[in-house]
Amino acid sequence: MKRWASVFLMLLLSVSLLVAGCSQSASKTGGAAEGEKSAGAGDGKPVEIDFWYALGGKNGKKIEEMVQKFNETHKDIVVKPAYQGDYYQNHAKVLSAITAGNQPDVTMVEAGVVGTFANAKALEDLGPYAKEMETKYIPGLMGNSYWKDKLYAVPFNRSTPLLYVNKDKLKEAGLDPAGPKTWDELIEYSRKLTKKEGDKTKTYGFSTPIDIWFYEALVFQNGGSILSEDGKQLAINNEAGKAPIKLWTSMVKEGIMKNPPGEKYNAWDVAKQDFLNGQVAMIFTSTGDLQALESNAKFDVGTAFLPAGKTYGAPTGGANLVVLAKSSDAKKKAAWEFIQWMTDTPQTIDWSLASGYMPATTEAVESKQMQDVYKERPNLKVAVDQLEYAKARPMVPGYKELQEVIMAELQRAMLGQATPDEAIAAVEKKAEKILKK
C-alpha cells in the first residue's frame, strides 16, 4: 500500500506542477490581452500592436532592435514583435489567426502573395492613411504593393536577382571583369570560364537555381510576361517564354552550365556554395546574399545586371509590410505609423546597411550617406540601378500554385525529359484550371 501511496503522491505532484506551470504563463499573456482591450481609447494608455515578422538570424535581431527604438521614441504606441518562422510559416499562421480572431496588427507578407492576402480581404486599404505620400518609395519596388488599384503594402526588405561573378577568374580568362552584358556574352563567357580535366569539369562557367524568380527575369528580358494583363491567361506559350528554357538546356548540354541539384532553397545553397568554392565562376542569386558572399569568398566578388535579352529585366522579391483589416481603428492608426516609420529614410538606410536589402525610398538612395557607401561598395548599388528595369511579379491568387507547376516543368526540361515546347504545353494545360479558380 505504501508504494501505491507514493505513486499517487507523485501523480498529484506532477499534475499540480502542470497546473502551476501553465497558469503562470497563462496569466502573463492573459494580462497582456486585457491591456489590449482597453488600449487606444484616448485614456492616455499606449496602444499595443502585435507585429509578426519572418526573418531569423542577424536580420531578425536587427528588426527587434529597430522595434525597440520605435518604442523608445513613440510613447503612445507599444509594438510587440514576434518571430513566426519563414515567410510561408508566417503566412499560414496569420491566416489561421485571422480565422480565430487573434491576428497580429502588422505583419510581413512576401511580395508575390500580397495579392492573395488582399483578395481574401485580410489586408487594410492603406490609401486613406498614406494620402499620396507613398510616392516617396522607389517606383520599382511598388509593383507588388497594389491590388485592384488599392494600396495594401509598403516595401520593407526587398531584394532583386543579380549576376555574381568571380572577378579573379574572369580576369584570368582575359574577360571583362564587369561581366557579360547579354545572353550571347553569357554563353561566350561561360565557354571560356569552363575548365575540364579529362572527363571531369573542374570549373563550370555558370550556374543558377532553376527557380521561378530567374525564369521570370529571363522572360521579362525577352519582352514577355508570365500572365496576360488581366492575370487570367498564361502568356508564356511563345518565343519569350521558351527562350529561357532553350538557353539553359543548351548551356547544360554543352557542359558550360551546372544545374545545381536540390529541392527549392537547397539548390540555391548549392549554387552559392559552388561559387564560393570556385567550382562555378558566375551565378544568379539574390541581392540579399551579397554580404555573405563578399565576406566568405577568397576572391574578388563582382555584381552585375542580369544579362540582357532584348532588354534588361528582373523581378523583385522579399517582403512588404501590411496592416490587417480585422484590427481596431486605433490599432490600425498606430500600425500605419509604425510601418511608415520602419520604411522611412533614416530607418531604411540603417536597415539596408545592416541587412544588405535595398533601401525603400528614393530619398534614401540619393542621400549622401548611401552615395558614400555606394562609392565604396559599388556592388551594393547595382541592385538599385537595376530597379529601373524591374517588373512586378504576377500577383493573382492562383500564381502560388502555378509557379510550382512552372518550376516542375522547367526542371523536367532541364533533365532532358521534355523539350521546351512540351514543357510549356504541359504548363498551359494545367494553368487553365488553376487560373480559373
Binding site: A26, T29, G56, G60, A82, Q84, Q291, A292, N296, G318
Partner: protein
C-alpha cells in the same frame, strides 16, 4: 570450435552492419564536427574532416542567441507533461480494448486507428480556433492538451496487453485484486519494454516538434528549443552554419543521453513483440 564458414559469414554480416550504421551515423557526426569549426572552414572545398582548431565558443554563441534556458525548461516541461498525460490516458484505454468485450469496441478502436493516421498539419486550424476560444493560445497548455491522448500509445499498449496470458489476470482476480490494481500492478510491469519504447517515441517527437509550438505560441516565454534553433537561420544571406550546428547539438544531446540508457528496453520491446 566453429567451422571456418561461420567466421566468414559473421565477418560479412558485421561489415554490412557497420556500413549501414555508418550511413546513419555520418550526418550526426558531420553535424557534431561542423559545430566545432569556424565559418570559413565550413565553406572550404575540399572540406576538412576534423576541425583545424576546436571552436568550443560556438556553443556559447548559440546559447546566447536567445533565451535558451527558458526554451530548454519549456521543452522539458512540455515533453514530460505530454508523456505523463499520455500514459494515464493510454494505459486504461489500452487495457479496455485488450481485455474487455463491449459493444462498439471494434468501431471505437477503428476510430483510434484513424486518429493515428491524421497528421497534425491537417487538424491544426480547428484546434487553433478551439485553443483561441478558451484563451489558451500562447500558453504551454496549447502545446500539451492537444496531445493529451496518443492513438499510437493506445495501439502499442493494446498489443502488449493482449500478449499477457489470461491465467495471470485470472490469478490476480482470484486474489481479489481490483481492475485498477490489475491494470497498474500486473499489466503495466509486464509491458515495461513497450512502455519505455512508447515513452521514448513520444518524448522525442514532442521534444523535436517545431510546427506545433510555432503555430500555437507568439513569444519567447512559452517557446521551445526547436524554435530557438530555427530562429538562428536567416532566410537570405549570412547563415552561420557552425553556430546553427552547435544549437542542433544542444537540441540533440539530451535525447542521445536518454536513448543511451533506454536502448536495452527498446530492443527488448521488439523481441517481445515478435515472440
Amino acid at each position: 570450435m566453429y567451422p571456418l564458414r561461420l567466421y566468414v559469414f559473421k565477418t560479412i554480416e558485421w561489415l554490412l552492419l557497420l556500413a549501414v550504421a555508418l550511413l546513419f551515423v555520418f550526418p550526426f557526426l558531420w553535424m557534431a564536427l561542423t559545430a566545432f569549426k569556424t565559418l570559413p572552414e565550413v565553406f572550404r572545398f575540399p572540406p576538412t574532416f576534423l576541425p583545424e582548431s576546436w571552436q568550443i565558443q560556438n556553443f556559447a554563441v548559440a546559447w546566447k542567441s536567445g533565451p535558451f534556458l527558458t526554451y530548454l525548461v519549456n521543452s522539458l516541461f512540455v515533453a514530460l507533461s505530454i508523456l505523463v498525460l499520455q500514459l494515464f490516458t493510454a494505459v486504461p484505454a489500452a487495457y479496455a480494448f485488450a481485455r474487455y468485450k463491449f459493444k462498439g469496441r471494434n468501431v471505437l478502436f477503428g476510430l483510434t486507428l484513424i486518429a493515428l493516421m491524421i497528421p497534425p498539419q491537417v487538424i491544426f486550424l480547428p484546434i487553433y480556433v478551439f485553443m483561441s476560444e478558451w484563451n489558451l493560445v500562447n500558453t504551454l497548455w496549447s502545446l500539451i492538451l492537444p496531445y493529451g491522448a496518443s492513438a499510437f500509445g493506445i495501439f502499442l499498449l493494446r498489443q502488449a496487453f493482449m500478449q499477457v496470458p489470461d491465467e495471470v489476470i485470472e490469478a490476480a482476480r482470484l486474489d481479489n485484486a481490483s481492475e485498477w490494481k490489475i491494470m497498474w500492478k500486473v499489466m503495466v510491469p509486464m509491458a515495461k519494454p513497450v512502455l519505455v519504447t512508447f515513452g521514448l517515441f513520444s518524448f522525442i517527437y514532442h521534444w523535436n516538434d517545431y510546427f506545433w509550438p510555432l503555430i500555437m505560441t507568439n513569444n519567447e516565454q512559452v517557446r521551445t528549443l526547436p524554435i530557438g534553433v530555427a530562429m538562428m537561420k536567416s532566410s537570405e544571406g549570412d547563415t552561420l552554419w557552425h553556430v546553427i550546428m552547435a544549437g542542433n547539438m544542444i537540441l540533440v544531446v539530451p535525447i542521445l543521453i536518454i536513448f543511451f540508457f533506454a536502448q536495452r528496453h527498446i530492443i527488448n520491446a521488439f523481441v517481445y513483440q515478435s515472440k
